[in-house]
Subunit: 170 residues, 2 copies
Amino acid sequence: MTDVSRPAISPGASPLFLREDEIRRGIELLYFGYTRLTNAIDQELAKQSLGRAHHRALYFIARQPDLTVGELLKLLAITKQSLGRVLKELQEQDFILTSPGVVDRRQKLLRLTEKGAGLESELFRQLRQKLSSAYVSAGQESVTGFWHVLEGLIPENDRKMVFDLRGDNG
Amino acid sequence: MTDVSRPAISPGASPLFLREDEIRRGIELLYFGYTRLTNAIDQELAKQSLGRAHHRALYFIARQPDLTVGELLKLLAITKQSLGRVLKELQEQDFILTSPGVVDRRQKLLRLTEKGAGLESELFRQLRQKLSSAYVSAGQESVTGFWHVLEGLIPENDRKMVFDLRGDNG
DNA sequence: CGAGATACGTCAGTCATGTTGACGTATCTT
DNA sequence: AAGATACGTCAACATGACTGACGTATCTCG
C-alpha cells in the first residue's frame, strides 16, 4: 500500500469504486444520445399526425408480426387504456390490422398493413442513418461494448422479453 | 455475385451495409436500457412529488452550479414556459435558489440548496447503482465503446455543449 | 444618450401521453 | 358450470410538453 497513485483494489472490482465522473458521463451520454436519436423521426411522424407512442407500437408490431395485445403491453409497459387509444388511431389510419388469435380466439393479433410497413420502414431508414453513422465512427468493437453495457441496464426479469425480439423472426 | 449468402462488400465499409439486425438491436437496447435506468428513480421522485422534468433540471444544476436559465434551456431543449414551471416548483419546495448574474445582471444563476443537493445525491446514488453494475458486468472496454457510440449519436452542433459539462467543475 | 437586442418571466389555451378505477364480454381451462 | 384470462371501454385526471402574445430589466452599440 505504498503506491497511492492507484487504488489497492483493481479497477472494476466493485461498483463502489467507479468514479463519479464515469457514471455522470454515462448518464449524460445516454440522455443526449437517446433523445437525439428519437428526435430524428419526429418530423416524419408529424407528417402523419402521429407521435412517439404510435411509433413504438408500430416498431414492435413490425418486429414481431402477429404480436398479441398482451405481449405488446408487456413490451411497452403502459396501461391497456393508453395502448388502446394508440392502436385505435393506428387502425383508423390504416397502418395496422388485427385478426383473432388462431390458437386462442380471445387474443387479438396485430400486424402492419402495407401502408404501415411503408411508414415503419421509412422511419427505420432514418433511425438507421443516425445509428449506423454512430456505429461506423465508433468502430465494431465499440458497438459490442455499447450493447453489453445496455444489456446490463435491463433487469434480469426483462431480458428474455428483449432478447426474444431477435431470432424468431426478422 | 454467385454467392448470395454474403454481401460482396465487407461489413462495416459503409453505414449502408450494416445489417438491419444490428441496427434494430441498438434501437431496442437503447430504448429498454434508457427507460429501465430512468425507472430506477421514479419512486424516490414521487416521494417528493417531483417528476422526471424536475430531476433533469436538478441534475444539470448540480452538475454546473450557477448555470443560467438560458444555458439550462439549451441543455433541456424545451420551452421557457415549460422550464419556468419546473423551476418555480423546485424553488417553492426549497430545492434550488437563484441569484442575479454577476457579469450580466439580466441573467439568473441557478444553484442547489442543501436540501436540493441532498436529494440530487440520493437520486444519483440510485442511478449509479444501476449504471455501475452494468459497467462492471460489461467490463471497462465495453464502457468506452458504449461512450463512443453514444457520442456518435449527438449531432456535431450539440457536442460542445455536452462535453462542456465535464471538466470545468465536478 | 437612445434604440434595439437580449435574458427572463408570465398569462392563456392546447396537445400527447400517461395514470386509476370500474365494468363488460368473449373465450379458455379445469 | 365456475373462474380465470384477454381484451375493450367509459370517465376523470396528471404530467410535461407546446404555441402565441406580451411585459420588464438590462446590456450593447452607434
